[in-house]
Symmetry: C2
Subunit: 512 residues, 2 copies
């Protein structure tokens, strides 16, 4: 607000005050209307580590560095705690950004200056998209599921990807993947006697959403020893155990590629999962947001819908929801909040209920997110003016991510007592830290989980923020951290050194 | 997708198929896993008329007109059922759109072609906004509450508006107003023994959200005879009645200016409400999304926070949440999904729970919505290059809305058996239709509410879509419709004629 400030010294005073402290001081007795004892206990119960205590502490340290440079043993916070590519320096895909800007300014499309600034195919694509929007405006409310024409483009993209039909009427354009997940939980969970099978470890959106909507999480453990393998026998035994306690299992969550675990499922494994859901009458909720993020040549992403249809199962045979978002992939447009869920295999009356909840939640994505989702599912093609630039940008990002994953894997595996599975896909490493007993005892005396103890130490001593494994669930007695692979390549050697030095010091202190 | 289509005839076949029908056919027995009997009964229970049956039917007719022109007694659907200004031809505010486009394309800011296309202050403002965003990128995740710098701009705008302090830490940037409302309901409602006082009639987001989160709606009726007056005695008696049934009333919802009722509250009335909430220990949820939409010279919008602070009540005295959105006002940028809630008067531990739920819901607005909310709360000022254009656009829109409100009020009041209160603010008329007994009987025999019967008839005969009053709640035995004032001015005479002709015919048929 530079010019604004120059004009208005009140704004400066205002900013100074807003840095001083929150207006919400802790106080007892002052706020009797709403207390922890009188709010919804489901709210109290749920946890969301990826924006939890360690992240709050990191933000506090960042503020401290800004206000008081030199007051900490490091000069910047290294944000390894979330998949936030562009905040770590990744550049956006030019074509996508140009089309988005032009869609908001229809009057520019015919101006000669615009033709000098923008590529010809971004102008053309913006025109096509505006033609798909009723009233050719990006300012109007759209259909609850999102603009029909954009959903058609996306459905076509899914068909091209899978080789099986997709219907625009089955697609809900959502603000990222979360609103779709919440809708499905809201729909399926009646009480704590309804359960959802969830991988352990898993991205905590699922546990939080299940807790918030009052259901029961039925955990199935991924096998770290086999590269976070998903064993059908484990799912079956957990399903039986839940049923024996009177829990009706309504759905199975699979995250592929895995978050935080980074594995890419094999076709055979996916077939087993489909078969199980079919046989047991449970809904398959497929988190496929990392579908573009596969880094190993021997694996490739295949959607669960493709797998199910390849097995001969049709729409009516299996209820299946696939989630996709624009925050991931090579595009990483996190705060654009775009994505879709493709909902298949539900009867018309249930589809009507899903539509109703989506309407009430105003869950449909903002228009920028809607347009971007359509672009992501129909990027420039060979022969388009932007194709070469687009293709080079995409390849550059994905190959760099693959290199970074390898470097960081090696770095973690070289640390004493640390083992790290291969990052086949997604955006994270999830190394296991074999913590010494003395460290575990020290954590206990501070009443925090041992991996949180480790992560807080790492943050306080190096400024590197990671999320403790506890936040994702893990086999009891094992301890992990989640660290993103998105760090800028040029910075990785220095960061690896900081982690190694810290780890050595930590182990020296606690090796016992 | 013109060029795309030319290249790819598969796409044409695809589109043809997607028009044919939904893949979700109604069927019994085929989808045994998820049925109306096995989903969350709260989902079944809630209703949302503004995207309900009549809207679905209108979309169907629109599709029919597209596929089969001339097959209906009208040639277009007139969408009076929602506040969707730009879809009805309202032009966006140029300055806002220019800044939004530029923020997505930082590399353009220094290019000479951009200086020819964009106003100097939009370029400058985009620079200032990018400076406020960590990493200067619109692609990164922001803080759960939204970007701090943008929240500071908004808090400053609130201070300028109210003359009382506002703190960026109290502000949550949300995708429109709905996510904030859902968070507060999620927080406050433990079971059906928790109640929320809601005006009757009211925008059904509130009733739907209360039902979805399992609470009880405690209705208080607005007095149609006194221009939808909000009588404190009525609220008190409903509060007592609820308490006598064992319901703990947690909050009071006030919509000012009113939706669907269009009244603007007097200062005295607002003071009474604040006093009541203070005395009774209930949270005040103030829907203030129409704060820019006041059309009468003798009324002006005043925020509940300003009223409370003017009365000498401080932060600690009263928990108060104000909702604002970019979908309304003179900007009407509905599908940008921007807005904020300002949360004051809660203790730090409760604020932490609100923060957690906001994180889980990923409720923070998309970046376009965040930026736009900051622009709306700090538009161009006198002396800025864009000020004159901005000011003319704003004035043009608001004065036209005032004229349209008057014309439509008069039109409804001239109909037999119809009375319509003054539209002092917001975007709707809510005329009362004194339906003849014969019409009420006919509706009963079709098992629909009499005003829904009227609204369906109107839609089928004229193509004009309005929402029946039943969807908003109304005093038993009274019947209304909600109709937006946003129709294009040039089209209003013809639409009024269609309504008048229909109404006359309807009354002739049912006058009895």
């Amino acid at each position: 607000m530079r010019r604004f400030v120059a004009k208005n010294s009140k704004y400066l005073q205002f900013i100074a005050r807003s840095f001083s402290s929150s207006s919400l001081e802790s106080s007892s007795g002052l706020f009797p209307q709403v207390t922890l004892q009188t709010i919804n206990p489901k709210v109290l119960k749920c946890e969301f580590a990826v924006r939890g205590a360690i992240v709050t502490h990191a933000m506090r340290l960042q503020e401290q560095l800004k206000q008081n440079p030199g007051s900490l043993p490091f000069d910047e916070i290294v944000v390894c705690n979330m998949g936030n590519p562009q905040s770590l320096g990744q550049q956006p895909i030019t074509f996508f950004r140009e089309v988005l800007a032009l869609c908001g300014l229809p009057s520019f499309l015919d101006r000669s200056e615009a033709q000098k600034l923008f590529s010809a195919d971004s102008i053309e694509r913006a025109r096509q998209i505006l033609d798909q929007i009723p009233g050719r405006t990006t300012g109007g409310y759209s259909h609850t599921q999102g603009i029909k024409g954009l959903r058609e483009t996306i459905a076509y993209g899914i068909e091209e990807r899978d080789g099986f039909p997709s219907n625009a009427n089955d697609i809900y354009l959502t603000d990222g993947a979360s609103p779709g997940v919440h809708i499905m939980m809201q729909l399926l969970l009646r009480s704590e006697l309804d359960g959802i099978l969830c991988p352990i470890p898993h991205y905590p959106l699922y546990s939080a959403s299940i807790a918030l909507h009052g259901g029961t999480l039925v955990p199935y453990c991924l096998d770290e020893a086999t590269g976070w393998g998903l064993e059908i026998s484990e799912i079956k035994s957990q399903l039986e155990a839940a049923r024996s306690k009177g829990v009706t299992v309504r759905a199975l969550v699979v995250i592929n590629p895995g978050n935080p675990t980074g594995q890419v499922l094999s076709e055979e494994n996916q077939q087993q999962i489909v078969e199980l859901c079919k046989k047991e009458g449970i809904v398959l909720l497929a988190d496929e947001v990392y579908q573009e993020n596969v880094y190993v040549p021997d694996k490739k992403f295949q959607s669960f819908k493709k797998i199910a249809r390849s097995m001969g199962y049709q729409e009516k045979d299996i209820p299946l929801v696939s989630f996709q978002a624009v925050s991931e992939g090579y595009y990483g447009e996190c705060e654009k909040r775009g994505g879709y869920m493709e909902v298949t295999g539900f009867s018309a009356d249930i589809a009507e209920q899903i539509y109703k909840v989506a309407s009430i939640n105003s869950c449909n994505s903002n228009i920028t997110g809607q347009i971007l989702t359509s672009l992501v599912m129909s990027p420039p093609k060979v022969g388009d003016e932007s194709y070469e630039v687009y293709s080079a940008e995409k390849k550059g990002i994905l190959s760099s991510l693959a290199r970074r994953a390898l470097t960081l894997e090696d770095a973690f595996n070289s640390l004493e007592g640390v083992t790290c599975n291969k990052v086949e896909g997604a955006m994270y490493l999830f190394p296991r830290i074999h913590l010494p007993q003395k460290a575990i005892k020290a954590a206990e005396s501070e009443h925090i989980a041992p991996d949180a103890f480790y992560a807080f130490r790492l943050l306080k001593e190096t400024g590197i923020a990671v999320i403790p494994g506890t936040g994702f669930g893990q086999v009891p007695g094992t301890w992990h951290i989640r660290c993103t692979i998105l760090l800028q390549e040029t910075k990785i050697p220095a960061i690896v050194k900081r982690i190694s030095d810290f780890h050595k010091k930590f182990m020296d202190e606690f090796r016992g």
